[in-house]
Amino acid sequence: MNAMTPGGFSARFAGLRDHLPGGRTPWVAALRGAAAEHFAATGLPHRKLEAWRYTDLSPIAQAQFTEALTLAAEHPVLPPMRAPHRAVFVDGRFAAGLSTLPAWCRTLAGDLNAAEGWLGALARDLPVVSLNTMLFEDGLMLDLPAGTDGGALELLSLASHTGRAIAFHPRHLIRLSEGASLTLIETSLGPDGASYLHNPVFEIQVASGATLSHVRIQREGRAGFQLATVLAAVEGGGTYDNFTLNAGARLVRNEIHTALLGPKAACHMNGAQLAGDGQHADTTTYLDHAAPDCASRQTYKTVLAGKSRGVFQGKILVRQVAQRTDGYQMNQALLLSEDAEIDAKPQLEIYADDVKCSHGATVGALDEAQLFYLRARGIPAETARAMLVQAFLTEAIEGVTHPLAQAALAEATEGWWEREAA
């Protein structure tokens, strides 16, 4: 009764273990084996676990997903290319013909041995990460040399219409050496009619003085599931910025674990969740202040329409060594429907005394006085609502400064309210 059934994943692994990338390579096999053991013991997380009290994964367990073993023959329509380089993954597998990689990018399946000691370095005992480790097929392996400005790189994940419930578990390894900088714009797309599970895990290392701006735009199909885990480690003076938009999927869990490991490391984690009828959007963040003089800022906005549910959980841990920490977190939810539910659990756990930490949370509907003011100026009610929804998101979105990321974001959010209200 404690563990949810592993949803057939463990059985799938038993059958596939030798055929997965690195299946016969001892270090990979050992890693997968240990993960499989952990996952078999935990199963998919269930609601009795404190970290999962608001998100129910039983639809995933019931769906009995199977792994996409072959590269899909037909591709969905690709969005226009924005950045000079692009890595495209279809159903979790690298699509070489659709991609243009810079010199500092490889694929995991293409050069798996290069990932020894790197793959799994940041992984911890999280069931969803173990599921990925057990079954990953491929992923991006990005190693940006010291002092390099990598510009912007697009990472595109597509789900194809296979006609069966497939799961894919890409593992992306991203490493920025000292002083390097990069904007990574990741978009996940999928057809609305397809039931599939996209379970990406990112292991991100940002060395001293390096800056990674990571923009994630989740636009999975409305019947799709995404369980995303970002594991980031930032060295002294490094900066990791994450912005995540959750706009698609039937259910999404966006889990971000960032550890600030050296003095003066910084982290900005912002996000917006737009959930309409039948959608469940969960953002869960863990920020580990493990070094002195670090700063972190988080702003998350959730907008709920129709019968939808939004979840925000955010924990800031300040270790005893992390003196002079400056931590701030705000999460706000806007309810547009009587059938929507929001659950929020911000959390501070603080063991250092010379700190400045705060969090805030607000939940409410659109402000009637604001709505009237706009309407009294001649703006129709629906347009006025859309303007106020957009305004509500501004604070979270304005941190995204790269023009390509801004464009991708605008494309994903524009007209959202009009569509949901229709």
Binding site: A340, V355, A365
Partner: protein
Amino acid sequence: MPAVAETLETVQAASDGGYKWGFETDIAMEFAPKGLNEDIVRFISAKKNEPEWLLEWRLKAYRLWLTMEEPDWAAVNYPKIDYQDAYYYAAPTTKAAPKSLDEVDPELLRTYEKLGIPVREQERLQGIAVDMVFDSVSVATTFKERLHKEGIIFCSISEAVQEHPELVKQYLGSVVPPGDNYFACLNSAVFTDGSFVYIPKGVRCPMELSTYFRINAKSTGQFERTLIVADAGSHVSYLEGCTAPMRDENQMHAAVVELVLMDDATIKYSTVQNWYPGDAEGKGGIYNFVTKRAACRGARSKVSWTQVETGSAITWKYPSCMLLGDDSVGEFYSVAITNNHQQADTGTKMWHVGKNTKSTIVSKGISAGRGQNTYRGLVKISPKATGARNFTQCDSLLIGDQCGAHTVPYIENRCVSAKVEHEATTSRIAEDQLFYCRSRGLSQEEAVGLIVNGFCREVLKELPMEFAVEAQKLLAISLEGSVG
């Protein structure tokens, strides 16, 4: 830096010399056999000459308790409790129940006087009626006659079982059912005494009612049960205080407090919890596992919980409000101090069910020494609670780098027209504030005391006047030998 360094030094120089209520009263006592089983439950019930239904109620709770597990979700650590290694009943030996204060053992009255409790009615300053609970039994209740004239019932719950069984039967367990949680369930099986209050329709209680809890005997647990029923349009302010002797062992206090409010009723419930916190090394102290809940059943009813938690080795306590009636109001004002090795996990639950219900939460946590202080709170708004409002402010103050301050709020909202706001901050005493005070001639300790009192003012102002003064002194004393 020097100011802070000095503060820390003072913290390290901490001793338990600050606990001034740690004496023991030497008085003849009667105990139940050590341990817990159905016979003990029957023993307690028989001692109190209880009706059959209450014994059955206790036994049912006991059997349920055996199937439950001790909760482990709170941020507190303590060795496994051996529930068989304690006395569940300890009472001063008396020939018969005292009819008046004059018949109460003078040694007992001296104990309360020493604790600063106004026991002599003629000595009353502010007109406070007191129920004195000594270990497992209520030893005296003052002003009963005066209150009786207003139709107010204020007595020990044991007496209420005898004198007003219909009221007790109607309301006992109606707000906190025995199966609610592990400690409440244990309490339901073995509760020994506590206070009972009934305020009739439209009556404004003419004086503060108060209960003073004292644990005295060794190796005993105190399991009191308080039940307050405020009928339509009534109003009462109730205070509770508690202390215990200094001992190396841990003693358990698992209380249940139930409040029932009808239309337009108001209850103001104030607590100054000053159980023995243990010594500087974390030895001894009370385990305080308390379930407090108010059911605002009536429209426009209002309950206000104010607590100053300075004592106990472990505090596990969430005074809550079920806002069922339309336009009902729940408030929670809390100051919790953890010093030395104290651990507190405290907060509230505000459950909005009625329309236009409002709740306010103000929590001030102060951690010093190696203390760990957690605010844990739930604001839950059901779909029908249209127009519900909540505002929550949680502030934590850290003194020294060996302690911890944690904030764990839960917000669950299913109502589109509800508005919820939560703010939390964590900081330390600012050096410039300390320096400013000291350059005006205040000692380090005075300065810290002053700043801490300022930090807590939003909560302290909610206390009844005579309690507020006590609480301010207590804050300073709790941090004395530790900060200020």
